[in-house]
């Protein structure tokens, strides 16, 4: 029974959900934190672009190029609205969350981080929000500090106070953290963290790869200075990421990818860069997929992000409860569904997550196993890997039941 959104109707929009696997089983797709499936609207809007008005944007004056430019820039405006940014030029298109964070580390970081400075992350960060900062610090003689997560998957805000308090001496230059952990599932109090940071004039980057697809985002309300997320995790195509930067900061930032489209004038000895945001989009953009992303945003807007969240909350409660019922199982992250996004990571005693995923595949069930690009957290949890089931708008309780049956079967095979 789906009160909030009509899952069965939604499922009809996703052709892959009818896919029959090798052995005739229907796909039960529970790896949405890695990437989500795409509705027909998104797929069709990409095809339509190529069939009707494919052309290089911004510079040409013929009709199809003007159509393409308009659709591309409309998407920027649509995203501005979706995250409630003030200006469309605060929206930069990248390839993915990873590139968005790298853009900040290279462009903002290399100009602002000096020897002896600190960058604050958390222990649960995705590698994409660790390695760029680690490398920056390595090159600059600065240091990365990690906020600890406790046994239940929460941050202690007092730690943050401590870290950036008087004795920090203004050494901390940026805080970069994920609004939702892709392993623990915890939703962190971004707004409070940003408030604490801003009291010390420290800018905050939110990795929104897991949060933006699953709940309402409002950059003016949270006050974040940077926000990074990926289209492919929210019904959109692969190859498109977004970086939001508050205009006051963006105006000060040096361009990153240099070349065509991001310049105003190039001379032998010097270059005058283009206006915002084009200055940050060098080369021919991923036009088709940016336009495809537009259709994804429309789809989500039509459902309503509050309904997305409500549906996931209901499903996550059910998923948590069913997994809890398994024999010798360890669940990571908050006990309460309401503190979580739509995913649950777990381990079954004596069965490696990798073997677990292989057995589940026989049931058509697609879940993720491994370190989830969060090895620092894995070290903290003292595990090598975990299994993770993650949900989205088209998942049903029946699918969760199939997952549980499959897990029980794995238990039987391993006879533990």
């Amino acid at each position: 029974m789906q009160a909030l959104l009509d899952v069965y109707k939604i499922r009809q929009d996703f052709p892959i959900l009818n896919r029959r696997l090798n052995d005739g089983k229907r796909l039960v797709y529970l790896d949405n934190a890695a990437t989500t499936q795409k509705p027909n609207e998104v797929i069709d809007s990409i095809s339509r672009y190529y069939k009707e008005y494919n052309s290089n944007i911004h510079r040409a004056v013929y009709q199809i190029a003007e159509e393409a430019t308009e659709e591309y820039e409309n998407t920027r405006e649509k995203i501005r609205k979706f995250i409630n940014a003030r200006y469309p030029e605060e929206i930069i298109f990248t390839r993915n969350t990873t590139e968005s964070i790298n853009l900040v580390a290279y462009s903002w970081g290399y100009s602002n981080i000096k020897k002896g400075n600190k960058i604050v992350l958390t222990e649960y960060e995705h590698h994409s929000n660790i390695v760029p900062w680690q490398t920056l610090c390595h090159n600059k003689g600065a240091r990365v500090k990690y906020l600890e997560v406790d046994a239940d998957g929460y941050l202690k805000l007092e730690d943050l106070y401590d870290l950036i308090s008087q004795k920090d001496d203004g050494k901390t230059k940026i805080i970069s953290l994920s609004e939702m952990s892709n392993v623990l599932g915890t939703i962190f109090p971004a707004k409070e963290i940003i408030k604490i940071a801003h009291e010390k004039d420290i800018p905050v980057l939110l990795d929104g790869a897991q949060s933006v697809p699953h709940m309402k985002t409002d950059v003016q309300q949270s006050g974040c200075d940077f926000l990074a997320f990926s289209a492919h995790k929210m019904l959109g195509p692969t190859g498109v990421g977004v970086l939001y930067v508050r205009k006051e900061i963006l105006e000060q930032m040096k361009p990153f990818i240099l070349g065509g489209d991001m310049i105003k004038e190039v001379h032998k000895e010097n270059t005058i860069f283009n206006d915002l945001p084009y200055r940050f989009e060098g080369g021919t953009p991923n036009i088709a997929d940016v336009i495809g992303f537009s259709a994804a945003i429309d789809y989500l807007n039509r459902i309503g992000m509050d309904n997305v969240r409500e549906h996931e909350l209901e499903m996550t409660s059910y998923l948590l409860e069913r997994i809890k019922g398994l024999k010798s199982v360890v669940i990571y992250g908050p006990k309460k569904a309401k503190d979580r996004g739509g995913l649950v990571s777990f381990n079954m005693d004596g069965i490696h997550p990798h073997d677990c995923a292989t057995i589940l595949n026989d049931f058509g069930v697609a879940i993720r196993s491994g370190h989830h690009c969060a090895q620092v957290l894995m070290e903290k949890l003292d595990i090598v890997a975990s299994s993770r089931a993650s949900l989205y708008i088209y998942n049903t309780k029946e699918e969760i039941d199939i997952l549980i049956d499959a897990l029980n079967h794995a238990r039987r095979i391993f006879n533990t």
Partner: protein
């Protein structure tokens, strides 16, 4: 259709631009280029008691950007400097009789307005740096 765009008035201003050239010792000198096509416009202004006493433009580019600049100088000449604030992109497009340009060509038509607005903002901010907050968004054309 291009016949609607390249009417006699545009071609006339393109071939015989009004107020083309430089002013010696201008009160405002400002220029910008259109990254799309490389069109360049620079504008010189002579201002007395906040009235635009003289205006000249220089530059190179397409018929639309040059004719539009020529017409814009006629439009503001001998007007108070503050009138520039109130000129909208639609005003310019109507004045030159091009209300259905595509987004790329619109930038050509509005380059001179953009430069003119920038010049005005620079003039006021140079005079009173604290006005930057208020002026910041005044140079927006698009």
């Amino acid at each position: 259709m291009s016949e609607d765009i390249y009417r006699e008035m545009i071609l006339d201003h393109y071939r015989n631009p009004r107020n083309k050239g430089k002013i010696e010792e201008p009160d405002i000198r400002i220029n910008d280029s259109n990254p799309l096509c490389g069109d360049e416009i620079s504008i010189d202004l002579k201002v007395e008691n906040d009235i635009i006493k003289d205006i000249k433009f220089d530059g190179r580019g397409c018929a639309i950007s040059q004719a539009s600049a020529s017409m814009l100088t006629e439009m503001v000449s001998n007007k108070p400097l503050t009138t520039i604030k109130d000129i909208t992109k639609d005003d310019v497009l109507e004045n030159i009789g091009l209300t259905n340009l595509g987004p790329a060509r619109i930038k050509c038509a509005l380059l001179s307005l953009k430069v003119l607005k920038l010049g005005m903002v620079k003039y006021y901010v140079d005079k009173d740096p604290s006005s930057i907050e208020e002026m910041k968004d005044q140079s927006k054309v698009f």
